[in-house]
Subunit: 341 residues, 2 copies
DNA sequence: CTTAGCGGATCAAAGGTTTTCATCGAGGAG
DNA sequence: CTCCTCGATGAAAACCTTTGATCCGCTAAG
């Protein structure tokens, strides 16, 4: 029967009820081997009887670990968070961390103030580790975090030296090759590319994939690609520019689904039929977008849920001081065929 | 100069350096009035010199407060989190909580397991309070949370009795009236409504607003409204059903922008021009949607950022044991005109 | 001159857990 | 029968902060 006494039971209470000392009770809770079966059972019984919950603060005080990790999103433009990709990452993080019973402390970092706050927070020892999403070039946050004596796992490659950093990346380059090869296999001859902003490494990797699959030199790249800034509107504009520059184009690989949606609008307005006149492949395979364009969008899938899951597993290992075989992991991408190519 | 000693400085160190006792140093940090100006200055100097950061665990242990609040999203269907609305709420929450220096612990609650985990967590005293987003009918999570001796502020009206509950709601009913009156003022005679799922109170409130603005009885409601389930696809289907049932309709008030996007597609396919033949008003004013439909969507704006901000302010007051004048607050909605009506 | 009052500082306890070290008892070896 | 070993347990220290009780040195009132 649950005691409805207002004060929460303490380990002392549990020990008393089980007829053992506080030390033994603690050992049971922490699954120490040096405890007799009888004691173990008695303590467990007392725990459930009293509805005992360890006091996190007290535990943290002595163990010097908090049982929480920070999840940092660095993004200078707040509106980018309307991107469904962001929601997906958060959801995946929440789930994966909950599964291992770790608190998720979410921090969104936009301004310099936010950076300072994040720094204080991380340096203050309020978390045991961090997951960092910082895709942009020369992000100050990365430099800050790097200096801290704190286990960190990055999503994708942060800008700068990767030495000793733990990260989980999607195979952006491989995905881009996949997409481009697919277009080539359809017999397309004039393939162009709408890239993401080149201050993000994922965009660069995708561009590089396109470049190598097409065997392009820098001049070719300059002619056949256009930056769409990872926005829908940017996708529209980039597509217009490419149509003007390469009127005979018959296929386009677009570095994100959102931009691809914009590009499709432009192609429609220009009277080009998809996929008859122009084949289109996107990237992200975000179903909420890809399934609702007309026609539905063929796209490269990167499994964000998996990425975050692997990041969490990786971080947990670091927290447990286990050795990790590979500091930097690469996740495969696959092509999902719909009607646009 | 920062001491690069690996161990973090403690209050004891600060006190020693300032030439006062630990107690005095503590009072300075907590802005107690009973401290001399000299002591205050000496302590502050020591704090900055050492880069001292209070140990959260130790503080939590003695004060019995954690400096963290939980943010709970209860949603049986995980995919709903792809809804941009969700990202917006999270972003607003992160910002508002960071501004008052409170940790945000995010929990997504889908399954019964998740509920149990949330219960353990909240009952375990790991947070000082909670923000709860649980729009659905008879959500078990609400009953669970209600029983806990924990300050909680709800987003919108949770199902069931509202006695003594703290909540911040948008004026859904008022917004629906606004939308409907606007359509009437345009001279429209046959106005119909695509509602949200009627197991969400926000959907019911919007339906009620429509009902009262149109002076409908239940029979009228049954004929002129259709449930679109707050999804794009649902919006399409509901619109089809309404077109079949009321072929002469000349306006529609749709209870969410996402559904409105679907409804617009259906109207296009049916050859009805918007707004000439059918005027359309949405709800949410989610720019990423409303500005990209064709034509751009007139919509009722509910300011989610503001809602969350007010929720946080409200919760903070509860945490400080301040009295709150109004337990239940209602935020106004406004009509944003674009081209669809 | 004594004493009450007061501002300001210190002392010490409390808060709940983990963990080291010592103790205790039983069982095996000599 | 005694000595050792070893496994299980308990006592107590340590983690760092807040806070009520206490104390000290002065001034103002009686």
């Amino acid at each position: 029967m649950l005691v409805s006494n207002h004060a929460r039971p303490t380990l002392e209470d549990v020990a008393a009820r089980a007829g053992v000392s506080r030390a033994t009770a603690s050992r049971v809770l922490n699954a120490s081997p040096r405890v007799s079966p009888e004691a173990l059972e008695a303590v467990n019984a007392a725990v459930t009887a009293l509805g005992y919950q360890p006091n996190r603060a007290a535990r943290a005080l002595v163990t010097r670990r908090t049982g929480a990790v920070a999840v940092l999103f660095s993004e200078p433009e707040p509106k980018i968070f309307d991107d469904p990709h962001f929601a997906r990452l958060i959801r995946a993080g929440a789930r994966a961390l909950a599964d291992v019973d770790v608190q998720m402390v979410l921090m969104l970092v936009h301004s310099l103030d936010d950076q300072a706050r994040a720094h204080r927070f991380l340096a203050g020892g309020h978390v045991d580790g961090a997951l960092v999403f910082a895709p942009h070039r020369n992000d100050e946050l990365v430099s800050i975090v790097k200096k801290l004596p704190l286990p960190v796992v990055y999503a994708g490659k942060p800008w700068g030296s990767l030495r000793g950093m733990h990260l989980v990346d999607n195979d952006n380059e491989g995905g881009a090759v996949l997409a481009t090869e697919h277009l080539k296999s359809l017999g397309r001859k004039k393939i162009v590319h709408v890239s993401g902003p080149l201050d993000e490494l994922s965009a660069i990797d995708r561009l590089n994939g396109f470049k190598s699959a097409m065997s392009l030199d820098d001049k070719g790249v300059a002619r056949l690609t256009e930056d769409g800034g990872f926005t829908r509107e940017g996708g529209r504009k980039a597509m217009s520019a490419l149509l003007a520059r390469v009127p005979s184009l018959d296929a386009v690989f677009v570095a994100s689904d959102l931009m691809a949606a914009g590009a499709l609008e432009t192609l429609n307005e220009a009277g080009r039929r998809v996929p008859e006149d122009v084949a289109v492949v996107g990237f992200d395979d975000h179903v909420a977008i890809a399934e609702h364009t007309s026609p539905p969008l063929t796209s490269v899938r990167q499994d964000s849920d998996e990425q975050v899951k692997v990041m969490v597993e990786h971080l947990v290992k670091l927290l447990r001081d286990e050795t990790v075989k590979k500091k930097q992991q690469m996740l495969p991408t696959v092509l999902v065929r719909r009607e646009s190519a």
